[in-house]
Structures are given as C-alpha cells and as structure tokens.
C-alpha cells in the first residue's frame, strides 16, 4: 500500500527517512531520542519530560491498544513529534476510547510511521542524540534538513518553564487531598507525571502541587512534612532558579528528588551534571540498591546525569547504581534527610519494582519529625 500522505524525518547529520504521515499535518523540530519500552506509548506521549523531543519507539507495532482515559501522565501530550515503524489502524482493548492516529491528529501532533526505527536507533546510538525535523508538508528533504540545522539545541534551554503548572493545585483534584490524614507533601512541578501524585495520594499523603518558580519561603509557608522535586524535561543546568530554591530548602525539610529533581539536587549540592550520549529511555534498566544488593528493573527517561564525584565535601552518598553503564541512579545527602533517584519509582509505563521508594521517603519524614 503506497503511503497515503508522505512524510519525512530528517536528522541533523543528514540521515533522511521517508515514511507515512499518521498524525496532524505540519512540521516539528526537537531532539531525537529512542525509547525501548514495548508498551506504554500513551504514558510516554503525555510525559512532560519529553518536551523538546521527537520520540521514536523501537518496538515496531505501536497503537495496538489505542488510547484510554486513565493512562495519561498529564493533561496533554508533550512530545514534539512521534516516530513509529507501524502505527496500528485499530484500537483493540476494552478500555480504548480512540485510536492512536485519532488522538495524534486531535492534539495536532506530527507523527510518522513506516520508518526503519532500528536503523534510526543505531544511528542515534552511534552518533548520539541529535536534532531532528519531522514534516508532512515539505516534500524536499534537503529543505527540511536546512531547517533542522537552524533549529535550537535543547542544551542550555529551560524547558521546565513550558511544562510547569501555572497555579498551585491539590491532588486528587476535587478536594480529596484535604481529607487525607497522611503527611503533607509539596510537589515542586518541573513537569510532574500524574502517577507520582497518584502514588503519593495512595499512601495517604495530602498532596499540594506548586509551580517550578515558587520560592522556598512560599513552599515552607505551606508547612510541608516533605518536598518532592519532580521529574521534568531538558537540561538541569538551565533551571538555575530551581537550584537556588532547593538550596534554601535544604536543612528545612526532608526532600525526595526524582529524575530532573535528582539532577537539580546534584547541582544544589554543588556538583555537576553532564549529558549522556543518547540518554536512558526505556523500562528495562537494572539498578542496584547499593545498601541491600537488590536489583530493580526500572523505568528511565533522562538525557542528563549527575557526576557524583563532582559534589564537594562528600556531601552526596551513592545509593543506587545503573548496572548497564555504572552511572549514578540514586544518592542521599550525607547528613540531611534528602534522597533522590534518577529513575522512575512511579513507573507508568514500566515495572513496579521501585514503588516501595515512596514508602521509604515517608519513613524518612517520620524520622525527621522524631
């Protein structure tokens, strides 16, 4: 079947893939990354950490079970563009309410299928993440390539500003938070995934979400038992205001950092972050808990990582290690009740092995009070 609507994916290095448009008409630019999870495209599309990125799925059949009302990780999709080998024409699942194609079109997302995603992945693995452009309107790949080269890089760009909430809100929406009897947790929203909020609420927490620019004084005014520094998109070094806020919160309240939140803590401790060659994006990364020796299969989605040896005075202690490439997956402050992890205990999508870390954070709150 010849492509009904042709589309092009062009990488910064001049590699061009011709495929079929399966979403909205238009053009999209971003950093191309690949995700190796087999299931969970709805969660991936709606994860704010993907702002600024064109995501390619390595599993060839995507869209099989459609889109449902429960599995979104935020109010809308955030990827810049979506790349697949084969997008399912139908949605086959009892919870599905629309097909992936209908969803992509409804949200004005440019998407392409028919792409040799393995060749694309190999290119990104060998040459590192790079800028890319996706177009359903430009028939000339050379012209698209020129625009890709002019598109902005995501290094040094504050993408958090784009995805954080505009005003504070409680979780669950509709007043459930006030009724809970557990600890009060303020979540600094750098692009928070809803499953972090669901996980906290499931443990009985009163969850208050605040915008990324909220000052330390405003956070403390809410008298939180703990602060959660959420996941989010892009380069941690560009979110300087958040680093300052975190530094003012240190010593005032126990904190848990997840993903970008973990990287921001690394910077707040005086350490450095660096960009990984092609990041970690998937649901099968083994992480070892250094204290117990247990291995967790984890969900990962990050391009930057903390360099632990750059943290001065031994202030940060390694707690979790990636067994694939030995990068830092978790740390704690040497003296303060502050812990952080680079991967995603909330999963969604991915294995639930690390869910217990929310409970562990709650135990930390208890000891801080005592």
């Amino acid at each position: 079947m010849s492509p009904a609507r042709p589309a092009w994916l062009v990488l910064e290095d001049g590699t061009a893939f011709k495929g079929r448009a399966v979403g909205a008409d238009g053009e999209a630019f971003g950093e191309a990354v690949f995700n190796t999870a087999i299931t969970g495209y709805q969660e991936i599309l709606t994860d704010p950490s993907y702002a600024g990125q064109i995501v390619a799925m390595t599993y060839p059949h995507i869209g099989n079970y459609g889109i449902n009302p429960e599995d979104g990780e935020s109010r809308r999709p955030w990827v810049e563009g979506f790349v697949m080998r084969d997008c399912s024409p139908i949605a086959s699942n009892f919870r599905a309410q629309e097909t992936l194609q209908a969803y992509l079109t409804r949200h004005d997302l440019v998407a392409i299928d028919g792409v040799d995603t393995r060749a694309l992945t190999l290119r990104l693995r060998e040459r590192g993440s790079m800028k890319a452009g996706l177009s359903t309107t430009e028939p000339d790949p050379h012209a698209l390539w020129r625009r890709v080269q002019q598109a902005p890089d995501i290094v040094g760009v504050d993408l958090v500003r784009r995805v954080t909430c505009e005003a504070p809100y409680d979780w669950p929406p509709g007043g459930g938070a006030a009724a809970a009897e557990g600890p009060a947790i303020v979540v600094m929203d750098f692009g928070v995934k809803h499953n972090i909020l669901r996980s906290l609420a499931a443990l009985g927490a009163r969850v208050h979400v605040v915008p990324a620019s909220t000052s330390a004084e405003e956070v403390l005014a809410r008298r939180p038992d703990g602060v959660l520094l959420s996941n989010g998109p892009g380069d941690p070094a560009a979110v300087t205001y958040a680093v300052k806020t975190i530094q003012r919160l240190m010593g005032q309240v126990p904190m848990l950092g997840i993903c970008l939140g973990h990287q921001l803590l690394g910077l707040a401790f005086g350490g450095a972050t660096f960009k990984l060659k092609f990041g970690h994006h998937g649901g099968n990364h083994p992480v070892k808990d250094v204290a117990t020796g247990k291995v967790e299969i984890t969900t990962q989605n990050h391009n930057f990582a903390v360099r632990l040896d750059s943290v001065p005075h031994g202030a940060a202690v390694l707690t979790h290690l990636n067994l694939n490439d030995q990068t830092v997956e978790g740390m704690r402050h040497a003296t303060l009740p502050i812990v952080s992890i680079q991967y995603h205990p909330e999963a969604a999508p991915g294995p639930h092995d690390a869910r217990h870390l929310f409970q562990r954070f709650f135990e930390l709150l208890g000891t801080a009070h005592a």
């Binding site: 079947m1 011709k18 599993y59 084969d86 009892f94 060749a119 040459r127 040094g156």
Partner: protein
Amino acid sequence: MPKRTDIKKILVIGSGPIVIGQACEFDYSGTQACKALREEGFSIVLVNSNPATIMTDPETADATYIEPITAEVIEQIIEVERPDALLPTLGGQTALNVTVQLAERGALDKYGVVLIGASLEAIRRAEDRERFKHTMESVGLEVPKADFARTLEEAKALAGRIGFPCVVRPSFTLGGTGGGVAYNSEEFERIAQLGLDLSMIREISIEESVVGWKEFELEVMRDRMDNVVVVCSIENVDPMGVHTGDSITVAPAQTLTDREYQEMRDAAITVIRAIGVETGGSNIQFAVHPDTGRLLVIEMNPRVSRSSALASKATGFPIAKIAAKLAVGYTLDELANDITKQTPASFEPTIDYVVVKVPRFAFEKFPTADPTLGIQMKSVGETMAIGRTFPEAFQKALRGLEIKKDGWELSPPVPPPDVLRQKLASPTAERLFYLRRAFSAGLSLDEVYHLTKIDRWFLRQLADLVAFEEQVTAAQEQMGACLHGTADTAAQTAAGELLRHAKSRGFSDRQLAKLWQTDEETVRRARLRWGILPSYYLVDTCAAEFEAKTPYYYSTYETPALSLGGTGRETRGAATPSLPRPSPHS
C-alpha cells in the same frame, strides 16, 4: 554471591522419549544447562532413556546413563554415582515427576542428595492443582473457579455445580494428556473417566471454562537474592481453549496496555515467590477476559518448558543456561548478558521485532484422531520466525512448516457460507486458511471475532494482509512489463515500491510469482535490479541500545534511509564513541 562450593557432582535428568507434548525443546535446554555447569567445573551425571538426543553425546556430561527414567533405576544410579545434588528442572514433566517419586521413596535423603533449582515443596505447590489454587488465593490472585474429584460420581456432582462448558484436567500428566472441555454431561463422563485413568494420582480438576479468553504466558527467572526478571511475554493468537503447544503464539504480547502488562508482571513475580521457586526459571500462564480485563492465573511450570525454549530463541536470553547457573548459587547481576557481554543478566530483554510460532500438525498420519484442537496437545512440531512486523513473521513461519505453502496461501476450497462460519468457530489445523477465505469472502472483522475470539488486532493485521494481496494481484498486468524492465521509469518506480511493500509484509518471491503469473526467477531478478535486498538485523536483547557481540540475525525488508550528504554534527559521535559528553553548563 558466588557459586556454591558444597556441591561438586550434579545429577541431571533428561526428558526421555520424544512424544507429542514433549519434544526436542528439553534436549535443547538440557544440553545448554549441562554445558553451563561443566563450564563452572561441576561434574555432571546425566540420565536419559533417549539416546537420539544431543545431550547424550559423550562430551555433554561426565557420565551418561541411557536407562529408563524411573525412580528405581535412578536410585541405583544415585547409589553408584553418589551425586551431591539433583537438578530436576531441565527434563520437562518427566523429570519433575520422577524427582517427586525419588523424594517420596526416601532415595534423596538416604544418599544425601540435595534438590537444586526447585524444592520438593515448590514442585508440589505448582503441580498439585489443589495446592496451587490455595497458594494463589493466599496471595490474592484469582484462578478459575474449580474443584477436584477422585471418582466419577464426585466429578459428576461437581460439574453440576460449576456448569457447562467446563474444563477437565488430570493432575500430574504430560502435555495435558487426558484433559478436555465438556459441553454436556455425555462428553463430560467420557473425558472425566479418561482423566481419572491417566492421572498419576487418580485425580482430576473440574474448572470454570475460560474458553475464548485471551491467553498469555510470562517467562520469569529468580535468583537466591530474590531478584526477579521477566524474560519474555508471549500472547496466544488462538484464545484459551486451545493448548499453547497447538496455538499460534506471538512474542512479545501485542494487545495489553502497559497497565495490564505490569499487573500481569506483578502477578508473575508474586506467583514465583509464593510457589517458592528459589532459583531458576518458571513459565506462568494467564487468561485475560477480553471485555473486562479480569486476570486469572491458569498454571505455572516450575521448570524450563517448551515456552522457555521459545522465549530463549525469541529474545537471545538463554534461560536454561542462566537457570543452571542460578541453581548453583550465582545471582543474576553476577552473570553477563550472553549477547552484549558488557551488561549484566539482571535485566529484562526488550525486542524490536515480532516472533511468531506456528504449530505443525500431521493429522494425515493419524487418520483416526479428532482434528479439533483442544487442551490436549496434538501438534508434532512448530516453526518460529522473526520479522519486523507480525505479518512478515507470520508468513515466514508458515513458509517454514513444510506444508507446501510459500506464505499464507489459500488451500481449502471455498465452502458455503454456513460451513465457513462453522469452520471458523471450531479450532483446527486448517482454521488459519479458512480465516483467509473469510476475509476474501468479505466477512466483517466483528463477525470473524465473534466466531473465533481471536483478538481484533490480529484479525485486522490478517485482513490487511488479504487486502494487500488483492492489490498485488490486481497489479499483475502492470507488473508484467516492469518485471522484464520494458516499462517506463515512473511505472518501474511504482512497481518497485509495490514489490518492496510486499517483501516487508513477508511475501516470498515464489508467492509473488504465482500472483503475477510468472516464475520465481523473474521476480528475483527484478528485485535485485531494483535493489530490494534484505537487511540482516540482530537479535540483541536490547532493541539496539547496546552493541551485540553474539551473531544472531534475522532477515527483514526495510525502506533504507537516505544520506543527504554534508557533515552536520557527524563528527560529534565519532569523536567520543561511548563516553558521556559533559554539558557546557557543568
């Protein structure tokens, strides 16, 4: 935790004769495990009654006994060889059953032989359906409503309570021998009596029927540090009611959302812990209601199985080898991923292709056998194929069956509509080809779904394949000139596109030649002239995230990328091939 030093000599029990339900997969697993253990310096004593296996080759074990696999004989072997340990999980059901007998007659205690891989208690909890049910309920997992009977009278009373259709399964048998689905009391009496006769302990279970539910399997591994990984998910195209060995199966699962898949993964981990398989692999089967998502645990094999052999080949994760090493004390993070060598075995393979297994039947050799498929396995073999997409792998698998098919081609004559509907409703070896007829005859997807209960996603993939083939056939006239290179450029380009699409959907040159009424050589020559060549892609356990060191390839047809020339940031990756790049802000 390094390997155990308290054991030196290990007894391995093979699976015996090749019969329907137990074939060379156990030879594959057993050989792999023996090699792995000898590599670690253990002395291996092997018992197998079947000399026509690879594992009984002299270099596989230190001592090989080709003797009947019975408790009496094995006890004598134990007396002579005095092994420190017995590894019972590699020889299928035969080895597990004889191990239980050995333990019960006190032979293991008498000679101080420890069980490794699975304890007696774990084997009993998994194999005895009553204990299995209690264990599952104790950890909050649901199983089909069921109870047990030891006499025909008990069985009849029970069937009255559970209702028809119900499933009859004898406890402790092989490949579901003697089981069946009963739709009425006459059928029930016949199946129940046979089941009682065949059960090693004269016991049958009678269960709520889950016929038509979606069927899945997970391959799980656990080490003695309680690290658990799921190696592979498998979805059966044929729904519950057809034995997994007789089903077309697909890896990975295609129609589960991440939420449902993770729920199943959590359940699998709970099962392996509750049953108490401390080290090694298990296969766990699940049923999912297509309209509600209700998840039931069907059964668990505390050993390597037919499916684990398939899962090993499907993912590149050598389950039997790793299971053997876990049994002697290693943990998953101490073992290397066999394919990448650089990353550890404590991970879950992710794949970027589709694996399809199609069973091979030989009813022509068993003219009196009932060709209807049920919960007793009837296939005599299988093919496994890998492609980038389901249609591609599916057609490759059919081609490998040696049933004179070059792909998913028509075979049975067109039956009248009511006969066609009957043929779709009843699972047989031929149903696959009637499905094809149904789509060309214009039956709607929903109607075919209601007749077969095959998930709509698979049906749509198959229907699209039929529609595409019609398009290919319709192009016969234009293709004629193009194949011989006498058409104009535009026509040639269009023809090349069509041929490329056909190849990526798994059509063979010979199959296309038949559709275009030409010969294979003509199609092949045109294909080469147009540069439509297969890509050879790696089975690498990680969807290309890491470099693979082990050459395990499959062929596929992809549309090649273009290189627009120029450098771009080409040097960036080349300068630092694998090191993390510091951000300019750090």
